[in-house]
Symmetry: C2
Subunit: 383 residues, 2 copies
C-alpha cells in the first residue's frame, strides 16, 4: 500500500456547495419553489457536502447522456448514475434558464437554491434500460424513476441547510470531516464498508479482513431512502455502535453515516458507492456479492466485475471483492468458499427469514452467526 496521503476527491477537488449567507427556515421568498422528493433531498445533501464531487449541482443533458451511455461524465470522469432534478411539466413550464429556484423539503423548509442553466427531457425509459438494465416496474429503483417528472432542471446548487433536523447528526460527517479525522488518526489507507443491514459475524469478518491490510475502517451505513421492510436506521445504528464498542478497536474504526438514497441498480450503484467513498477519503472499498442488487436483475459478480472496465477515469479507490462467509465448524473460524474446503454441512448458516423468525420469538441466533449483544438489540426492537 504505497499511498503517501489520502486519495484525492474524484475530479481532484472536494466540492462544497453550502453557503452561510441568505435566509433560513420556512420559505417565504418570491422565487419559484420546488418541494424536492425524498431522493432529491438526499442527492442535494450529498452534492452540497462534496460527497458527489465533482458534481456542483444537478446534471445537465450532456452529462446525463454520457453517464447513461458511457458511465462517465461528458469530460470522461467516471460516473455511473444520473443525478437529476426531475419535475413535472407544469412546474417546468414556469422555470427558465437563468432562474434561481428555491428547493424545499416536505415542510417547506428552505434547503437551498438551484441556479437553472438548462431544462431537458427526462428520458426515463432509456435511463432505466441503461442504469437498471430493466424497465420493469417491479424493480424498486425503476419504480421511483418512473414516478419522477418528465423534465430535468439542471445547474449548480447553493445550499443553506442540507437537511432540517437531521438524524444521527453526531455521525453525519461530511467528506471534509472524515478526511480530517483520518489525517488526525494518521490513517493513510482506509477501507470503506457500505451497509444497510445490521452487522452479523459474516460482515464483521470481511470488514476485519480488509482492516488487517489497511490503516483504518470506515463503517459507513447508508441511512437515506431505502426500501420498505429494511431495518430502521436507528435500530441499525444501535447495533453498529454496540458492536464497535465491544468488538472493534476504537482508534482503527470509525462510524459515520452516508445520507444517500438507494437505487438498487447493482453494478452501477456499486460504482457510485465506491465513488462516494473515494470522496470521503477511503482508499479501499468492500464489494460483496450482489452488491446493491435486488431480485435477480444482476449477476452475482457483476458489481465486482464492472470495476475492471473503469481504469483511468479518475477512480482511485481500490475495490476489495468478497464472497459470502460463514462459520465453519471444521476450520473453527469464519470462512468463505475461497478459504475453506469443507462442505455446507459444516457451516453455521441461517437464512434471513430464519433469523427474523428467531429474533421475533426472542431467540438469539448462534454466537457464530451473530454477536449476542447485536441479537439482543434486534430482539428488543421487535417487541
Amino acid at each position: 500500500m504505497a499511498t503517501k496521503g489520502l486519495v484525492p476527491a474524484l475530479g481532484g477537488t472536494l466540492v462544497n456547495r453550502i453557503t452561510d449567507s441568505g435566509p433560513k427556515g420556512t420559505f417565504s421568498g418570491s422565487e419559484t419553489a420546488i418541494v424536492l422528493t425524498e431522493r432529491q433531498q438526499c442527492d442535494l445533501e450529498m452534492i452540497a457536502i462534496g460527497a458527489m464531487s465533482p458534481l456542483t449541482g444537478f446534471m445537465g443533458q450532456k452529462d446525463y447522456d454520457s453517464v447513461c451511455e458511457n458511465l462517465t461524465l461528458a469530460n470522461g470522469t467516471v460516473w455511473p448514475i444520473p443525478i437529476t432534478c426531475a419535475v413535472d411539466d407544469a412546474t417546468a413550464s414556469g422555470v427558465n434558464s437563468g432562474d434561481k429556484v428555491a428547493l424545499l423539503d416536505n415542510d417547506r423548509q428552505l434547503l437551498g437554491y438551484l441556479n437553472v442553466e438548462e431544462k431537458y427531457a427526462h428520458n426515463k425509459t432509456m435511463q432505466a434500460e441503461k442504469v437498471f438494465l430493466t424497465t420493469e416496474d417491479a424493480h424498486p429503483g425503476v419504480k421511483v424513476l418512473m414516478s419522477e417528472g418528465d423534465t430535468c432542471l439542471a445547474g449548480p446548487i447553493d445550499v443553506v441547510c442540507p437537511k432540517y433536523d437531521p438524524d444521527w447528526s453526531e455521525f453525519r460527517l461530511t467528506p471534509a470531516q472524515t478526511r480530517a479525522k483520518f489525517e488526525e488518526l494518521g490513517w493513510k489507507t482506509v477501507v470503506g464498508f457500505q451497509t444497510r443491514n445490521p452487522i452479523h459475524r459474516a460482515h464483521e469478518y470481511l470488514t476485519k479482513c480488509a482492516l488487517e491490510i489497511c490503516d483504518g475502517l470506515l463503517i459507513h451505513p447508508l441511512i437515506g431512502q431505502t426500501q420498505a421492510g429494511d431495518i430502521p436506521a436507528d435500530v441499525r445504528m444501535n447495533c453498529y455502535t454496540t458492536l464497535i464498542e465491544k468488538y472493534y478497536v476504537q482508534d482503527r474504526t470509525m462510524l459515520s453515516v452516508l445520507p444517500a438514497a438507494m437505487r438498487y441498480s447493482g453494478p452501477r450503484e456499486a460504482v457510485l458507492h465506491a465513488v462516494l467513498r473515494q470522496n470521503y477519503g477511503c482508499s479501499h472499498f468492500i464489494v460483496g456479492r450482489d452488491h446493491a442488487g435486488v431480485g435477480s436483475y444482476y449477476g452475482t459478480y457483476d458489481a465486482q466485475d464492472i470495476f475492471t472496465t473503469l481504469a483511468g477515469n479518475g477512480l482511485d479507490i481500490t475495490t476489495m471483492n468478497f464472497e459470502h462467509s460463514a462459520w465453519c465448524t471444521k476450520c473453527e473460524s469464519m470462512t468463505s468458499s475461497k478459504t475453506c474446503p469443507h462442505g455446507p454441512e459444516d457451516k453455521i448458516f441461517l437464512s434471513g427469514t430464519k433469523v427474523r423468525e428467531m429474533l421475533a420469538k426472542g431467540e438469539r441466533p448462534a454466537v457464530e452467526f451473530s454477536r449476542p449483544e447485536v441479537a439482543d438489540i434486534l430482539i428488543a426492537s421487535m417487541k
Copy 2:
C-alpha cells in the same frame, strides 16, 4: 482489483538463461572452473529461471553501486540487494574479461557458465553498511558476506542445469510455470506468501485474509540457504502439504518452493522477496512485522514502510502489511491489534521457545494456536 492480466515481470520480460545445448554432468572442460558457494548456487538458479528478472547474470559494478546506494539498478529499476559472484583473488587473477568460466557445484557437477564482462573490487564493508545497516559479524548475512571473496566477476550466465538432484522438484516451479498455472486456473490476482517456518494458525489467518480479496494464494516457502536451527525444509514441506490438503481450497491455493538464499537483511530483503514474487506472477505480497529480519537490527515496521519509497521503479506488486495475530477468546476468532480491542489476557499465544518445548515433549499446542495435523508432523520430526 482492476488488473486485467498477470503483473509483468520486473523490467517487462521474463528472463530465461537455461540452455539445453552443451555438456552436462561432471565438469571435464578446459575452461577455468569455479565451485560456487551455496548462496551463489541459489542465485544462479534464481537468475537462470527468471525469478531475478531482469538480471541475466551476476551484477556489474554500475548496478552493484547503484543497488547499494539507491535500491535500483543503474537503469532505475528497483533492486535492493547485490547479486554477485565474488571469488578470491587467486581465482580472480586467472580470469579476464571475455573469458567463459565454468560454474560448478560442490561435487564438480557443471551448472553453467559465466561470460565474464567485468571484474571489480567487492566493497564488502560498504555493502554491509548499505544493505544490512551493520557491519557486525554477529549478523548472519554480514557473516556470509564477509566470508566471500574480494573480487566480483560479472556478466551474463548460461545454465545447463540449475541444480543437480533438486529437492522437491514436483514443487520447484519456475516463474514461467507458476504464471502458466495461474492463467490455467483463471487467477488474475495472486497473493504470494513468503515463509521459512511451519504455518500455524496465525499465518494461516493472514494468508486467508489476503486470499479473501485475491483470486489465488501462492504459498511460496524459501528452501534455499537458511540459518542453522531453522526447521528442515522437508519437515516444513510435509506441514504445508498436510495443512493445504485439510484446510485450504485446492483450486485457490498453490504450493511451490522458492530456491533462494536468505540474507536476513530485513527491509531490503522484503523488497527482494516482493520483486521475486512479482516475477513469479503475484499481484500481491504479504509483508509481516520484522519481515526477513534477525536480532534487533531493523525496526518492526521498516520492512513494510520501505515500500512507500519505491513507487514508479517498476515494482507492480502490491504489498499487504500485516500485524501479528492470535486467537482471542472474547472475539472467538483470530485477531490482531488492529481488529481486536481485548487485552493479552484474552489471547492464546505461545512463544517459539514454549512451542518447541511442547512439541519436543510430544504435546500438541492448543488448536487455536496450531492445527493438530501440523503439530503431529512437528512432534514426529523431533523424535
